[in-house]
């Protein structure tokens, strides 16, 4: 058995599910939010929610970078791609996110723009080196997990003296988004959080302590294997049962309290906080995103191309905003699975497989009752 298989031991998973079922109080409802889209995907991919008792509900948070990116920034990326001479590079999922009137980077490419899907920022640098006569822009998205890779690309571009490379920076920060959720009007009916393991591997577990200490929510940082998630759910239920609210780190094989110092230093060298940033679903959240430092302004596509980011309202019928806040479940949205499907997404949550709606649509069984106790 290799290392990953050990975390997918099905017998152990079933035993753990049984333990969870014996530990939940039948008279109470447990609403737990997994912040991170990677966790949403694991839950759906393995059908884990059906192993949980009926009164344990997982609420899918906004931790999917393409889902929270507002239409205005996609529209700005599309406008960039349409400029003559520009090669726009981006991670795959972003290509299908709709901006306005169904415009996407994919359709922009079909109409003749040079939009390229890359797997690594190094690919974008290589393209810039191969095409010195073209402007190569990397459409950077992601939480703290993908930010170090962008920082590496920028410092590399400076070292190589690349004149034709820039970054359209849309990197966002997790802790301010979690604060944003808690501060949303009406709040959220969540009793505990599953903390994002990969984000924490970069920034450490310490930035999440305040959600337990100040806001009073139990939080368990965990990994992305099925057993990681079940274990985190059990730990949260135990805390809720006894009225505790502390941060627990279930992902110690990867996450330390202080995080990855090298990555953090690199992020700090290249990026600085924005005053605020527009999130789909959360609105403007203060100090929740990064931009390039003035030192690196020549690599900042927003400055280089004098980009303006307009407000692009979400589709009228789309309730991604409420879904991202955990206010409604995906299937409670009127257009879920009808006008809005993964093939033709109206809202961003339906685009990425980590998006709450796409994960629910793609994997949730229809009409199959959940195992365990009756719903309360």
């Amino acid at each position: 058995m290799n290392l990953t298989e050990a975390f997918r031991d099905a017998d152990l998973a079933r035993r753990m599910a049984t333990t969870i079922a014996t530990e939940v109080s039948p008279h109470r409802r447990y609403s737990l939010m997994e912040f991170c889209g990677g966790h949403t995907h694991t839950l759906a991919r393995y059908g884990l929610e059906q192993l949980l008792p009926g009164n344990v509900e997982m609420i899918h948070g906004p931790g999917c970078p393409v889902c929270v990116l507002p239409g205005g920034r996609i529209a700005a990326g599309i406008a960039l791609a349409q400029r003559p001479g520009v090669i726009l590079c981006s991670y795959g999922d972003l290509l299908r996110v709709p901006a306005r009137h169904g415009a996407t980077l994919m359709r922009t490419r079909a109409a003749g723009a040079d939009v390229r899907m890359i797997y690594s920022t190094r690919d974008a640098l290589a393209i810039a080196q191969r095409h010195p006569d073209r402007e190569v822009v990397f459409f950077a998205i992601g939480f703290e997990t993908t930010t170090p890779a962008t920082a590496v690309a920028v410092t590399e571009a400076r070292r190589l003296g690349l004149q034709n490379f820039s970054v359209f920076c849309n990197h966002v920060l997790t802790p301010p988004a979690m604060s944003g959720i808690l501060a949303a009007p009406g709040g959220v009916a969540v009793q505990g959080f599953i903390g994002p393991g990969h984000v924490a591997s970069v920034i450490g577990s310490r930035p999440f302590e305040r959600f337990a200490e100040q806001d009073g929510y139990p939080i368990v940082i965990t990994g992305f294997e099925a057993l990681d998630l079940l274990q985190a759910i059990r730990q949260l239920i135990r805390q809720i049962n006894v009225g505790r609210a502390v941060l627990e780190n279930e992902y110690r094989r990867v996450v330390s309290r202080e995080g990855n110092e090298k990555a953090l230093a690199l992020i700090d060298e290249v990026f600085t906080l924005r005053e605020d940033f527009e999130w789909r679903g959360l609105g403007r959240v203060a100090h929740s995103a990064l931009r390039l430092r003035d030192d690196f302004a020549c690599f900042d596509a927003e400055a280089r191309f004098a980009l303006t980011v307009e407000d692009v309202p979400d589709h009228k019928a789309c309730e991604c905003a409420a879904v991202l806040r955990g206010a409604i479940r995906p299937e409670q949205c009127k257009v879920f699975g009808t006008a809005c499907t993964p093939d033709n997404p109206l809202g961003s949550c339906m685009v990425s497989s980590e998006g709450a709606c796409a994960a629910r649509y793609r994997y949730a069984t229809r009409g199959v009752p959940r195992a365990g106790t009756e719903a309360v």
Binding site: R14, Y46, Q50, L51, R116, Y119, S353, A364
Partner: protein, 348 residues
């Protein structure tokens, strides 16, 4: 009077390239056909240099299929566009339970395409056709300007014959039928991806490209009443099962633990964020058969080299929603939907 015979140098297969003239219909075209295509596929029909091939119609029903191949890259571990173009069409015929007989091959070549690469592709087609026992008996060549194609696109059309009694059809899946898979999923998809320009990664994995008609014949010998048969190419196993569910108006349930997947395919899927159920295969088949013959079919398949890992992976059931579901290794269930969009363009 003796005809004038100009000196015409032979094709420079080592260093030459496709030129627009090779598609003009003139002497360059004739030379390309003669020295490259006919030389490799060599048979009486091609030697006749007609614009068509005629043959006796065999008994039973005729089966006709056509498929275009635009794979990128052209050469990948375990195969190339050439063997794919032969095996792909042979398999489409075989999935009717038919014996493949003849192929046509049509080439769209890009100006500047190295003759050495074309030669390699054509040789690969010849080897695959011989191995499958089919003859490539007619064809066509067009050349487009540089930039208007991607090296070479190939379309093959195939003819086969099937006994009147064999009725394999996408609409014949019935509740309680068993779903059988001939081997590991995703080998071809990952092998091709591993050689993508922007994604190069090291793997021992090879494409599974292979002709499946003999395996099908072995299955039909023990279970003449096979209900459905398909090679899960583009869209993978998920697409095949969803198509059958729709055509047969049934649901399907498959069991994750039963589905054979190589560790290297599983690993590649994890780091690329892909699902092996959606990956293309070029030498695997999935079948639906009545429950009473399922074990016999699996045993017969395992005796054939291309069916060594054959196994029952699930069942057909009555379901008004026509849902395809998978019981996960953890005992949970999830929907196996159609592939939406295309995570891996041009894999076959």
């Amino acid at each position: 009077m003796k005809g004038r015979r100009d000196f015409f140098p032979p094709l420079d297969i080592g260093a030459g390239r496709i030129e627009l003239g090779h598609g003009s219909g003139g002497r360059a075209t004739a030379q390309l056909i003669e020295e490259l295509f006919s030389a490799a596929f060599d048979n009486d029909w091609l030697r006749g240099m007609n614009d068509q091939a005629s043959f006796e119609a065999p008994p039973g029903r005729l089966v006709l299929t056509t498929d275009s191949f635009v794979v990128s890259p052209l050469f990948f571990p375990g195969g190339d566009i050439g063997c794919l173009a032969v095996n792909g069409t042979v398999n489409d015929i075989a999935m009717a339970g038919a014996k493949p007989l003849y192929l046509s091959a049509s080439f769209i070549l890009e100006e500047g395409f190295p003759l050495a690469d074309l030669h390699r592709v054509v040789q690969s087609m010849a080897v695959a056709a011989r191995a499958a026992g089919v003859a490539i008996i007619t064809g066509d060549t067009k050349v487009v300007e540089r930039g208007k194609a991607d090296g070479v696109f190939i379309t093959t059309t195939g003819v086969g014959n099937v006994p009147d009694a064999t009725r394999i059809d996408a609409s014949r899946a019935r509740p309680n039928d068993r779903i059988i898979l001939s081997g590991t999923l995703g080998d071809h998809g990952v092998a091709v991806l591993s050689r993508r320009e922007n994604l190069h990664f090291e793997t021992e994995l090879r494409s599974d490209s292979a002709p499946l008609h003999e395996l099908v014949a072995a299955m039909l010998a023990v279970a003449p009443d096979l209900h459905c048969l398909r090679d899960p190419t583009r869209g993978g196993l998920a697409a095949v099962l969803n198509e059958w569910a729709r055509q047969s108006d049934v649901g399907m349930i498959i069991h994750e633990r039963a589905i054979p997947i190589r560790p290297e395919v599983a690993a590649a899927c994890e780091f690329l964020g892909l699902d092996p159920l959606y990956l293309a295969n070029e030498g695997k088949l999935v079948a639906v058969c009545p429950p009473q013959s399922a074990e016999d079919v699996v045993r017969a398949m395992r005796r054939h080299p291309l069916g060594r890992d054959a196994t029952i992976i699930g069942e057909v059931r009555a379901d008004a929603h026509r849902a395809v579901e998978m019981e996960t290794a953890f005992g949970g269930r999830r929907l196996v939907d159609w592939l939406s969009s295309d995570p891996l363009p041009r894999i076959c």
